[in-house]
Amino acid sequence: MAFEYAPAPESRAIVDLKSSYGVFIDGEFVDTADGHTFKSISPATEEVLAEITEAGPADVDRAVAAARRAYDDTWSTMPGAERAKYLYRIARIVQERSRELAVLESLDNGKPIRESRDVDLPLVAAHLFYYAGWADKLEYAGLGPDPRPHGVAAQVIPWNFPMLMLAWKIAPALAAGNTVVLKPAETTSLTALAFAEICRQADLPPGVVNIVTGAGDTGRALVEHPGVDKVAFTGSTEVGKAIARAVAGTAKKVTLELGGKAANIIFDDAPLDQAVEGIINGIFFNQGHVCCAGSRLLVQESVYDDVLTSLKRRMATLRVGDPLDKNTDIGAINSAEQLAKIRTLSDIGEAEGAERWSPPCELPDRGYWFRPTIFTGVSQAHRIAREEIFGPVLSILTFRTPAEAVEKANNTPYGLSAGVWTDKGSRILWTANQLKAGVVWANTFNRFDPTSPFGGYKESGYGREGGKHGLAAYLKGGEN
């Protein structure tokens, strides 16, 4: 039975967009010294939202200098309890402005308002609130009586969870006593710029947080800047490796949160209805633009037909379209470039012999869209089983024994996350133990919490974000 839905758009009147934005340095929005500007568009409509500054090396230099001054003069000498109160204040302003920020995020990123409103923004506030409380308790973090911050942190974040990744980076850095220069992704600068404004509302001392917008060149200039003590990056494994090379031979500390190709393992005794919801959440949450997405489904052969039938039925109910519509399940692909990549890899999947299926669904005329897609008949050698697609595309493989499931799950250079579905407790713990993955979701998927360490094995990066582990990454002696 098909349900018809009337449009239920969230109003965008709550968002007050400027026509152009400078960079945020030393507490002020300033014009670029040597950069250019570029347009930020809404991926759902291709409408231009604002002109953004592409910061050049001189801008980066100014931002790092401002962060250094703020570190030396203010932030590193301020009592932890006072730093905590700034972070609490910022967390509260985020909560107060959460609807505005959710709408802005959905406009700029293309993700459904249901997710930005119910997942991203609550987690942003939670991260700020959690780490605020650490700022005056650093001596209890297990790193000695007086753990010291690194200094100036360079932070480069991706476009899939723009404001959430900002919070993951800025909250622990500031709590530990570092100052930051953060570069958002070039397609999703707007919530970072809104955060800069929040810092001003909170009277955060100038230079503690600096935001430089731009693309890869800006990020490279920031990471390679000699005035930086700590680098934190979330993004592709390719860029992560370049950063690891860029800091080689320096004293810079690094944490990298990179790509993934997570296995989601369905054993034959799993609660199948819940498992199918988990599969859907695992791969279609945020259009599949999730580094920990459950993009390789491993189904035990005996339940393969049941799972596939149920999965297809559920996929047919997914609503693809306007990110600001409160009934939308899958929004817009973030950029034309990412859409092209998803199309290319999906075409390769077909060319290599896998069978492609998508539910019938209408897509808007303008903007960047991709139907939720599954591939069956996938072998481990197929590129769609090995490479991160970063889109709503699921590769389905089968297994017979638990040992085979683990073997296939671990057969990847990545190791960020994995899922396990079974009703048998001992099998959950055995499987979780065998998996080379930094996060294992058992009978659930894509859960996040500020108290819970997140990060990968192998080529999914190093270091953890979240919890005491994530705090330690911003303190001397706590790099691991």
Binding site: T237, R447, N480
Partner: protein, 294 residues
């Protein structure tokens, strides 16, 4: 006067590599001369090659599932057993360290004693590190969520150059006690105590392949370790040349090895309190979530 007996000629040891629990020569058939600090001849050591690196990494990878799958209690007992075996050969090691490092007997004995005590110290960490760095995470929802440390895998170690036994033990014991397996490149100029130490390892119930020891040149061997795609982490403590360390870190980036950079300044003071840093650097944190419900 035909009944004066000639002085007995001592039987010298052939210093070989230690790979997969066995003692092969370098597949290259090469060796290099090891001198004492006065320049006198001590022995010929095997000059390890790229293929020896390959064999050692294969052995370490093969040993990893079994070793990391042992209980921490068992690994602790085995590392303690290594200390016992070293204690039993204290005089031999004191003699070898004295000759190799040019130390007075008392200083060499102190280094051996400290090595034994360090093994005992790390042995005790086997079943404690998870309680110190692991956590139960109070997430905002109906989930049980916990984080545990796990060994990262195969760890390459460029051992300290000066302190041939105490330095070696201080970098190696913390790597393996948590379940990693190791490929060690011994001190280039002072490799002999490391090789004799493998005789201790071989008689301590340590499974073959958990520790593999190569002797040879940093310039030749270390780049193969740093670029090997089946090595998960590399400890550059023994690399004292900054340019070489940078080159190795660049090579290690290819598969995002965990890198422990050389300590700034001179070789670390191995008699100091070691803290937990050498224990935690080759660990991964795994976080597991499960819903709570009825």
């Amino acid at each position: 006067m035909a009944d004066t007996k000639p002085a007995r000629l001592d039987v010298r040891k052939t210093y070989k590599l230690f790979i997969g629990g066995g003692f092969p020569r370098s597949e290259s058939g090469r060796s290099y001369v090891v001198h004492d600090t006065e320049g006198g001849f001590l022995a010929n050591a095997a000059l390890a090659s790229r293929k020896d690196v390959r064999d050692a990494v294969v052995a370490a990878r093969k040993a990893f599932p079994g070793w990391s799958g042992r209980t921490p209690y068992n690994r602790g007992q085995i590392v303690y057993r290594v200390a016992e075996m070293l204690e039993g050969r204290r005089a031999q090691f004191a003699d070898e360290v004295a000759r190799g490092e040019g130390l007075a007997t008392g200083d060499a004995e102190a280094a051996v004693d400290a090595s034994i005590d360090r093994l005992v110290w790390y042995a005790g960490w086997a079943d404690k590190v998870a309680q110190v760095v692991g956590s139960s995470n109070p997430v905002a929802g109906p989930y049980f969520d916990f984080s545990v440390p796990e060994p990262t895998g195969v760890v390459a170690v460029v051992a300290p150059q000066e302190s041939s036994l105490l330095g070696l033990v201080s970098v190696l014991a913390p790597v393996i006690v948590s379940g990693n397996t190791a490929v060690v490149l011994a001190s280039e100029a002072r490799p002999l105590p490391a090789i004799t130490f493998t005789e201790v390892l071989a008689t301590s119930d340590l499974p073959g392949g958990v520790v593999n020891v190569l002797t040879g040149r940093i310039a030749e061997v270390a780049p193969w370790l740093a670029s090997h795609m089946d090595v998960n982490a590399i400890d550059l403590t023994g690399v004292r040349d900054a340019d070489t360390a940078r080159e190795l870190e660049l090579a290690a980036a290819e598969n995002l090895k965990r890198v422990r950079r050389p300590d700034p300044g001179d070789e670390p003071d191995w008699t100091a309190d070691q803290g937990t840093a050498r224990l935690t650097w080759p660990l991964e944190t795994k976080t597991v979530w499960h819903p709570i419900g009825i």
